[in-house]
């Protein structure tokens, strides 16, 4: 009798779900073949565990207790009245509810010339050649478990194209809402192509209207054209029970400018992955984020950056505030191939531990094969500075308020890099709410 590998309940659930759902997922036979290949890879290797280097500190196999079935259609009325996470009249809201793009809930009035927005599900059904081509990713990305699960289960998403030289004044806000009980899974893929010299701001919010253990898997692929400027900001605001996997794939063209910010404020288990690559020279990019954790929550930020062209500059800054028995992971790998001379990269991660049991793991790595480069990394981890705290206390400020001021100041260094004022303010508001709840 052949030995069958022991499957965890989550792996068993996946093995049962995929065959049941695969034919009802959108796409032509070609798409199904892509899904099958992706799922086959996951099934073969199982969920990654701590002996798999990229998942060393986030043992998905041990942490993923279950895998709920795909979400049904959302209750539109509830989604419609939900308070927006970001209060911005300027932003164009594009709503993805329970994994499905809902144009009727979205603001599509007067789309700027040069901007097109359409449904990924429709493109998959139509077998759109460009979209199918855009699903192809290099092996290192395609075989990543969160990515492969997204490929296998993706139900919809947005295909956004910004034409060359188009300047899109209104930020695009991709609103991901999970609604309903019991807990369900969603997998959404966005494909964003920004033409030469174009300019756009992309905001993503990921949230749930119900405090249940939703699983969300949001993947965004952005191609930043030559000389284009893209500002991407994600607010992950899921309930404490949720599982949140996000992946960002960014190809940054010559002379382009790209910024991405991730705020990981929710979920019991969160992993934000970034796969970025400079594909043309003289480009610049900023990778930043903040994580706030309490209870027994776990959040992982994993950045793979290939500084693949000459004279590109990047800045990486990730900050985490960790309370109770929570655990934050930051893994950042920057690779500089031998032809990428004049590379300038500076990666910094800092963790503020608010309790004895809180844990921060930082794994910065530089792989440098070029000789004329400036690359640095730093990692710090510590508690609130006693001297600063004493100074504030000695001026009459109560301890919890003083701690909140210092925590906000710590995170501010990263948050203040957010250029979009509405998102900046929305995030500060959330952080203040978190701090208030902590002091209560």
């Amino acid at each position: 009798m052949a030995a069958t590998p022991i499957q965890t309940p989550a792996e068993q659930a996946l093995a049962a779900l995929y065959p049941a759902e695969r034919t009802s997922l959108p796409g032509t036979a070609d798409v199904i073949a892509i899904r099958d290949a992706a799922f086959g890879g996951v099934e073969k290797s199982g969920l990654p565990h701590r002996r798999v280097e990229d998942w060393k500190y986030t043992d998905l196999r041990a942490r993923l207790k279950t895998f709920p079935p795909a979400a049904g259609p959302a209750d539109v009325a509830r989604v419609l009245i939900a308070a927006p996470a970001v209060d911005d009249d300027k932003a164009r809201r594009l709503v993805i509810a329970n994994g499905r793009y809902r144009p009727e809930l979205s603001d599509l009035n007067g789309l700027e010339p040069g901007l097109s927005v359409f449904s990924l599900a429709k493109a998959l059904e139509a077998g759109d050649a460009d979209v199918l081509a855009a699903l192809k990713l290099e092996d290192a990305i395609a075989t990543n478990t969160a990515v492969a699960l997204n490929t296998a289960f993706m139900t919809d998403g947005l295909v956004i194209v910004v034409a060359d030289d188009a300047v899109i004044e209104r930020p695009l806000e991709l609103v991901h809402i999970a609604e309903g009980e019991p807990a369900a899974s969603t997998a959404v893929r966005h494909l964003v192509t920004v033409g030469k010299g174009a300019k756009v701001t992309l905001i993503e919010t990921v949230e749930s209207l119900d405090t249940v253990a939703h699983h969300s898997n949001v993947m965004t692929v952005i191609n930043v054209g030559e000389g284009a400027a893209v500002d991407h900001i994600r607010l992950q605001l899921e309930p404490d029970e949720a599982v949140s996997l996000t992946s960002l794939v960014a190809k940054i063209g010559q002379g382009a400018s790209f910024d991405t910010f991730n705020a990981a404020l929710g979920a019991s288990l969160a992993r934000a992955q970034i796969f970025a690559e400079f594909t043309g020279r003289d480009a610049r990019a900023g990778f930043r984020g903040v994580t706030m954790l309490n209870g027994r929550r776990h959040a992982d930020t994993t950045l793979f950056l290939v500084h693949g062209a000459e004279n590109c500059r990047s800045r990486e800054l990730y900050k985490a505030v960790i309370d109770d028995e929570a655990r934050s992971v930051f893994a950042g790998r920057i690779a500089v191939p031998s032809h990428a001379q004049k590379t300038d990269a500076r990666m910094m991660t800092a963790s503020l531990l608010l309790s004895e049991e809180a844990e921060a793991d930082a794994k910065p790595e530089l792989e440098i094969f070029a000789d004329d480069v400036q690359c640095g990394h730093g990692a710090t981890c510590g508690a609130i500075d006693d001297d600063l705290l004493f100074y504030l206390l000695s001026r009459g400020i109560p301890k919890t308020e003083a701690e909140s001021m210092l925590i906000l100041a710590f995170l501010g260094e990263a948050i203040d890099e957010i250029q979009n004022q509405a998102v900046h303010d929305a995030l500060i508001h959330r952080v203040e709410g978190w701090l208030k709840a902590r002091s209560a």
């Binding site: 600063l388 009459g396 001021m405 710590f410």
Partner: protein
């Protein structure tokens, strides 16, 4: 009135204060002098309530009330605080945020209404004029040096008009 009676204290397992007694009456200014390592800073920090200093004997009364069980902020609003000659600069905390929080903590303790931001800014403008800090950038988006200067002026002003409260001012708190 501040009364220090037979104060014994330890830090890092070493006894530093070995029975200090001192009474400071309202309106009096006292300078505590002594060689390096005599325990001047230690005394200041103990009075202000810094962690890590263990009082092993004696008592400290402010206007008849023992303060040794009070947190530093409670002592501060009761009127006892440590004035730093070189105010600490707190990276990322705007001076105005800090000053407003401190002022409102004191107002709250006295039962006064806390000031809103516009009310506070008006007050700051008035005080700044009195102190001849007129330049805009010292008040609004001040650079670090300007902020420090403003803080120092404010510390000095507090020391000068300590409102009958006793300021435990250490000349070199480092």
């Amino acid at each position: 009135m501040l009364e220090i009676k037979n104060l014994h204290a330890r830090v890092g397992g070493r006894e530093i204060l070995k029975g200090l007694t001192l009474t400071v009456n309202p309106g009096e200014v006292h300078a505590i002098m002594g060689p390096n390592g005599a325990g001047k800073s230690t005394l200041s920090y103990i009075l202000a309530g810094k962690d890590d200093y263990e009082v092993t004997d004696g008592e400290v009364l402010l206007n008849g009330q023992s303060i040794l069980d009070l947190a530093p902020n409670e002592r501060s609003v009761a009127g006892l605080f440590l004035a730093f000659q070189y105010p600490i600069e707190i990276p990322g905390v705007a001076t105005m945020t800090f000053l407003k929080a401190a002022l409102n903590a004191h107002r709250k303790a006295k039962g006064d209404k806390e000031l809103t931001t516009p009310e506070f800014m008006k007050l700051v403008k008035g005080v700044a004029e009195k102190l001849n800090i007129t330049s805009e950038h010292h008040l609004g988006h001040a650079e670090a040096a300007g902020q420090r200067r403003l803080l120092r002026r404010r510390e000095e002003a507090r020391r000068d008009h300590a409102d009958g409260a006793v300021a435990a001012g250490d000349l070199h708190p480092r």
